[in-house]
């Protein structure tokens, strides 16, 4: 199945995978292809190379979508045919703040939450928060109605799939149980009183207090207290996000590289997607060293040639050295290409899915740093259409 067929009718395209495989480039290329097909498209990136932002004709990317100017299309000789390409870079903390602002029942509660140090830690530093906020941003963008197609580039961490569970995770934090049963009474009664009410729990607090000081406990209690008011809004929203990414409008693409370590991570992600029953579209293997593609006989000729060179007596001659260097380079490259082809075969075997869609993007001779570079990648991705 071609990538066009896989993505036909999809509104939300989520690119996930490990870092260092060019996930952002692939995401931007998929978005560009849709824009060129006349769609209003937005790509939400996590941490794009500055050159990519520049190449989109944008000085910088921030938390709001910016349209790629028509001049950038013209420069690359591309015609958007009425389509649009917008790009933004996710700002985790701002997105979280916006969410708090939306659901805080009063200005007072909003300010209490935003000023709380626990909140500040959770909204900026906690593992899993960027993933959760990426989902939140995605939902916000779908709700705006401004876009036909949304492409999401997910954070390249080992938590990369946590975002799928992140909505539930945040619920853990605000589980009002903890608040009502433990923290509030603790501060209401003081720990002596508390000890009377709930012996075992009192001891837990004693130990925690001894380890960290009372101040920290109080701040956590304040956080839970203020957040309590936002809880229902958050949960409802989390449910809708979960519904969106599981719907037939959405598809997950797994971006990986042709190396055993990145492919192993790809398989890990794949299994996780299957386990969570997410709609899976296929693997994109980026930066594949394609063989020079002149056939096996040709490789043999080169090998024979290398053999001849080895036995040549005029060893020191510049021309012989050059021939040897060129033949070596050629064979090095071919060996790498052969090895990568084996890894991809291995991927099929490990996933155990017949007709597993694998879309390869060859290692291009130049860095992708402008719209025409992105178009080159898109042409490879969507080839055979």
């Amino acid at each position: 199945m071609s990538l066009s067929d896989t993505l036909a009718g999809k509104r939300v395209i989520i690119c996930c995978g490990s870092g260092g495989v060019g996930k952002t480039t692939v995401s931007a290329s998929i978005a560009l292809e849709h824009a060129l097909a006349g769609k209003r498209t937005v790509v939400c990136t996590i941490d794009p190379a500055k050159r990519l932002a520049n190449s989109l004709g944008l000085d910088r990317l921030d938390n709001e979508p910016r349209p790629v100017p028509a001049s950038a299309f013209a420069e690359a000789g591309l015609d958007a045919k009425g389509g649009e390409l917008h790009a933004l870079m996710l700002d985790t903390k701002r997105t979280f703040d916006a969410l708090v602002e939306r659901y805080a029942p009063s200005a007072e509660i909003r300010d209490t939450v935003l000023a709380n140090r626990m909140y500040q830690n959770i909204s900026s530093a906690l593992a899993g928060t960027p993933e959760y906020m990426a989902m939140e941003k995605l939902y916000e963008l779908t709700q705006s109605g401004d876009y036909d197609v949304l492409v999401l580039d997910t954070p390249p961490t080992s938590f990369a799939l946590d975002f799928l569970e992140a909505p539930t995770r945040i619920n853990h934090f605000v589980a009002s149980d903890v608040l009502d049963k433990f923290l509030r009474p603790y501060f209401r009664l003081g720990h002596f009183g508390y000890k009377m009410v709930q012996k075992g729990m009192g001891r837990t607090f004693q130990v925690l207090e001894k380890l960290t000081g009372l101040e920290v406990l109080r701040e956590i209690a304040d956080f839970f207290d203020a957040f309590d008011a936002l809880f229902d809004g958050f949960r409802e929203r989390a449910d809708r996000v979960a519904e969106l990414i599981r719907s037939p409008d959405s598809v997950f693409m797994l971006v990986t590289g042709p190396r055993p370590d990145t492919l192993a991570e790809g398989v890990f992600f794949y299994e996780k997607l299957v386990e969570l029953a997410m709609p899976f579209g296929g693997f994109v293997v980026n930066m594949v060293h394609e063989p020079f593609d002149r056939g096996k006989r040709f490789a043999k000729t080169i090998d024979k040639l290398r053999g001849n060179v080895k036995s040549t007596k005029s060893d020191g001659a510049v021309g012989v050295q050059l021939l040897r260097a060129l033949a070596q380079t050629y064979r090095d490259h071919e060996a790498l290409a052969e090895r990568e082809a084996l890894y991809l075969e291995d991927l099929r075997g490990r996933v155990g899915q017949k007709n597993l869609p694998i879309y390869r993007v060859p290692f291009l001779d130049d860095d992708v740093h402008d719209l025409s570079g992105l178009k080159q990648v898109a042409d490879q991705l969507f080839r055979g259409d």
Binding site: P156, V207, P260, A335
Partner: protein, 346 residues
């Protein structure tokens, strides 16, 4: 090379970098070199999908420190396990600790006080440096090579101690954090090494990481390892001949005196052009590293035809050793230097 600048002789060698640059392979390669220099070495990672054992071709690693081969031990730790170890020591009484761990509340607390798990990952290294801290009778580690999490997460990991000190201002955890930070920022004890690739994103991130680690965290920076440097296809002496052949591939037969099918010659030239182009691109980023990143750089060539896993690690280890020399890994820790002065205890 300047051995002190390389800083491969420090007791704790942190190896960090962007995901996908070969960080774990380099950490394993450094550990192998240190072990072979006669130093008792522990290779330590903290990844849920542990990959160091693949780099060494050995059994899976977990929290318990295990011997891998001569002078080399390995483990893969989590902050949670390290925290538990700390609590058992601190609370002394196992019963109290069991009480604590049983409580949901305790787990919520850990989750809501961000940084605690990260702190205890770093804390494990402090612990390992204590007398008898290795957990293996009669063994004191001369080198601890830490395969740090990929940047992004890695940066926040090393910023954690300061964040904790700001949040938790009294009690045992406060003092523990002070000790951890003191060890990490002691330039005679700990060096921070970075692995990167000659490509745009890895170089950008490395420069940022370098800045954060030096300025914000205050750690001592050691070597920058550049992985995957494309080889020089055409050495200096062959440039003239190459230019002639490049302009007219069929000349290759004349230049070399070997009979070559013109089509073959053409393919050889085309292949070389491709690799040259990649090298030229990489050169731009190498130049950026040379001008913008202080400290020594060790360049490791793109290894085309080497099986990943142990063979790749061996090749990288050999490439590093060839450039820095075995003396760069320093001497064993004398017994009296092993004792860190403990901070105030409550």
């Amino acid at each position: 090379m300047d051995q002190d600048a390389l800083s491969l002789d420090r007791r704790i060698l942190v190896v960090a970098g962007k995901g996908g640059v070969g960080k774990s392979t380099f950490a394993a390669a450094l550990a192998l070199n240190a072990a072979r220099a006669g130093l008792k070495t522990l290779l330590i990672g903290s990844d849920i999908r542990e990959g160091l054992s693949h780099c060494l071709g050995t059994h899976k690693l977990d929290y318990k420190t295990r011997r891998i081969e001569e002078n080399l031990w390995g483990s893969n730790i989590s902050g949670r396990e390290s925290l538990e170890e700390f609590l058992i020591l601190k609370l002394k009484v196992k019963f109290l600790y069991d009480q604590l761990l049983k409580r949901d509340l305790f787990h919520y607390f850990i989750a809501a006080a961000p940084g605690l798990e990260e702190l205890f990952i770093l804390g494990k290294m402090w612990f390992l440096c204590q007398p008898d801290g290795s957990g293996i009778k009669g063994v004191q580690f001369d080198r601890i090579v830490f395969d740090a999490p990929a940047t992004g997460h890695g940066v926040s990991l090393f910023k954690t101690p300061q964040v904790i000190l700001d949040t938790i201002r009294v009690g045992p955890i406060h003092h523990y954090t002070k000790d951890v930070l003191k060890l990490l920022t002691d330039p005679t004890h700990t060096a921070f090494h970075i692995v990167t690739l000659p490509e745009e994103m890895p170089v950008n991130e490395s420069l940022e990481l370098d800045h954060t680690v030096r300025v914000d965290v205050g750690m001592h920076r050691g070597t920058t390892f550049v992985n995957g440097v494309y080889p020089e296809v055409v050495p200096e002496a062959l440039v003239n001949a190459w230019e002639r052949v490049r302009a007219n591939p069929s000349r290759l037969a004349v230049e070399s005196g070997v009979e070559i099918d013109p089509k073959v010659a053409e393919a050889l030239v085309e292949g070389a052009e491709r690799v040259l182009e990649r090298r030229r691109l990489g050169e731009v980023y190498l130049e950026r590293l040379r001008t913008e990143m202080a400290g020594p750089k060790v360049l490791v060539p793109y290894l085309f035809d080497i099986q990943p896993g142990r063979p790749l690690t061996e090749a990288v280890a050999a490439a590093i050793l060839e450039q820095v020399g075995v003396d760069a890994f320093g001497l064993p820790i004398p017994a009296n230097r092993a004792k860190l002065k403990p901070g105030r205890r409550s």
